[in-house]
Symmetry: C2
Subunit: 349 residues, 2 copies
DNA sequence: ATGAAAGCGCTAACAA
DNA sequence: TTGTTAGCGCTTTCAT
């Protein structure tokens, strides 16, 4: 009847801990508490379904054994990993860090953990990264930007999980989108600088795709004012004070001789201001400088930086809320959330 | 003989995809390729053990189905999650971002993914966070700092995985440690400023524990020079330009009237410089300012910041290497790695 | 080089 | 309220 069975890892006494001390599993806890494994599982995940007396015994057993649930097993069994993936261009950029921070905090409160992936601003990397994180079976995914390769979109769709695209806006998101219009930003800055009396215009920008959209809208808006030929100092991907100085030096080198300068980040703007100061140029009289982001140093620089304020925490929070709604099957009123932006007039423009 | 069995998810035709489209599993790929599941597994994880012909068929089937391996299942079965946890005080601090970035890049090359956890500078949070990440069964763990609660240490030890503590040094690490001596930094800065002729000294610092160690060593070293009474402007946890300005204003408010100022971060130092400039004070003649970190803006500020350079990328890389060695059972020559530091004399001191 | 079978540690019906 | 049972999708001996 019973065919001979080889010794199994699970057998009491034959435990073969592959590492460290003995592995404490649900069953160990269950035995100690004198209940069935399922009861321990319930005690942990749905305590209300367990009698108070039982719950206490289980809790005690957990404490005694130092039991740490194995979420690989749990996730496999329930097909809910309680993991949410977030893909950002770079963690080496405070701008995204703040969004992720508020995103993570909101989700932590609901028992989710964030798995962070960094593309390094590459599109190939995004594809590979998405595949990599999907293999962890996240319950949802956060993306930066709205441009993804067809293969990436296919993969995301096939995963069948809620997706939120962020830091941009589109009428047709993969699923959800939380961000703001980069075109409107470009236009608003153009109008702002023009309103301040600028008649010549320049740009110091990284080659980030969203920055390019802002730049284009800025130039186009200026054309409507009859202004053509926007001088530009492009720098590569990463923003730094140094590159801001270099970018502005380039602009001057091109013969840019006073006017409004729109920078693609506050960091770059800080460099522009520094370089202008180093050259003894007058801000904002001769050079009016506008940053982007309103990072925490902007208001406290000397001179204080005029910039475009983006509510980064709101992007994180709204994204989390939207995903959470999907995960809880709460009906969602809006799949497109515009967090807007504000120009903060200070001393540099 | 065969008792009636209820329909199972696994049964072909009765697949109940809990979400999205049908779930592509190893078995689906195997069937399509006309091989056993185990062979597909091998084709993916140990391609050399599979005949070329077979490999091709499997590869094709994977492409055709868009199969994405389920690492929850894989990890559970093999007890290797290919996940490495990293605990940092804040992702909202570029100083740690760079370390994590190089750490992650090194590990990615070896097929590991990093699971990031943020303590927010709290110790309670560290305990909870460690528990949370351990439930994902990481293959190794990266910690910031060397101070952990007894419970945390116990838990870490019980996990039986390689552990690297970073950003500090201790002769008795939990397992491995990669960092530098904060005491030596404090002493070196004291000597440096004293050597520059400073006779009065101050501090503008966050209340980060490692910063406090530097400050203490700084003060003690100065005592040896017969100097007592180091003025200090403490700010809370997070560093920002604004807090640097405020901290310096405090210092002045306390009657600090010229001398050397050691800041716990470059960001704070940038604030100190800004505030000093705003007050028309002379740097470095009257106020000699030293930062900490040598972030990328330090060298390009006006005036350029004298600071303590820490090779953050090296911390990440060496940590990764050390863990990798453990994971590959490579004998480790050193469990304590000192990456050192360098004072970069520039214009502010 | 490949296949068969037995779990990894947990959750989820279903019964009791 | 609790226990029983059957997997979740993969890896891993062990045979072949």
């Amino acid at each position: 009847m019973t065919k001979p069975v080889p010794p199994r890892h699970g057998d009491p006494g034959v435990s073969t801990p592959r590492r460290g001390g003995r592995t404490v599993t649900l069953d160990v806890v269950a035995r100690l508490a004198g209940v069935a494994p399922a009861t321990v599982s319930r005690a942990i995940n749905q305590p209300d379904m367990v009698a108070r007396k039982t719950l206490e015994r289980v809790t005690q057993a957990i404490a005694d054994t130092g039991y740490v649930p194995n979420l690989l097993a749990g996730g496999l069994a329930s097909s809910r990993s309680h993991l949410i993936a977030a893909i950002v261009p770079s963690i080496n950029n405070l701008v995204y860090a703040e969004t992720i921070q508020s995103f993570g905090n909101r989700l932590k409160a609901c028992g989710y953990q964030v798995l962070l992936g960094e593309t390094g601003y590459g599109q190939d990397t995004e594809d590979a990264l998405v595949t990599a994180v999907l293999s962890r079976r996240p319950d949802a995914i956060f993306l930066t930007g709205i441009h993804h390769s067809p293969q990436c979109r296919r993969q995301l769709l096939a995963a069948g999980i809620p997706v939120v695209e962020t830091w941009d806006l589109t009428p047709s998101p993969l699923d959800l989108v939380v961000g703001f219009s980069h075109e409107k930003v470009g236009e608003a800055v153009a109008a702002f600088l023009h309103g301040r009396g600028c008649r010549r215009f320049g740009i110091v920008s990284s080659d980030d795709p969203r920055a390019l959209v802002r730049n284009k809208a800025y130039a186009r808006a200026l054309e409507r004012h009859g202004i053509t030929g926007v001088a530009s100092g492009l720098v590569h991907a990463v923003s730094s004070l140094e590159l801001g100085r270099k970018g502005f030096a380039d602009l001057i080198g091109q013969g840019f001789d006073g006017g409004g300068v729109f920078c693609s980040s506050d960091t770059l703007a800080q460099g522009v201001v520094t370089e202008a100061l180093a050259r003894g140029l007058r801000i904002p009289e001769d050079y009016a400088i506008v940053g982007f982001g309103d990072q925490n140093f902007a208001a406290h620089m000397l001179p204080a930086l005029t910039t475009v304020k983006i509510d980064r925490a709101a992007i994180g929070e709204e994204s989390a809320n939207a995903l959470l709604a999907r995960l809880q099957n709460t009906p969602l009123t809006e799949t497109v959330v515009d967090v807007g932006f504000t120009i903060m007039p200070r001393e540099t423009a």
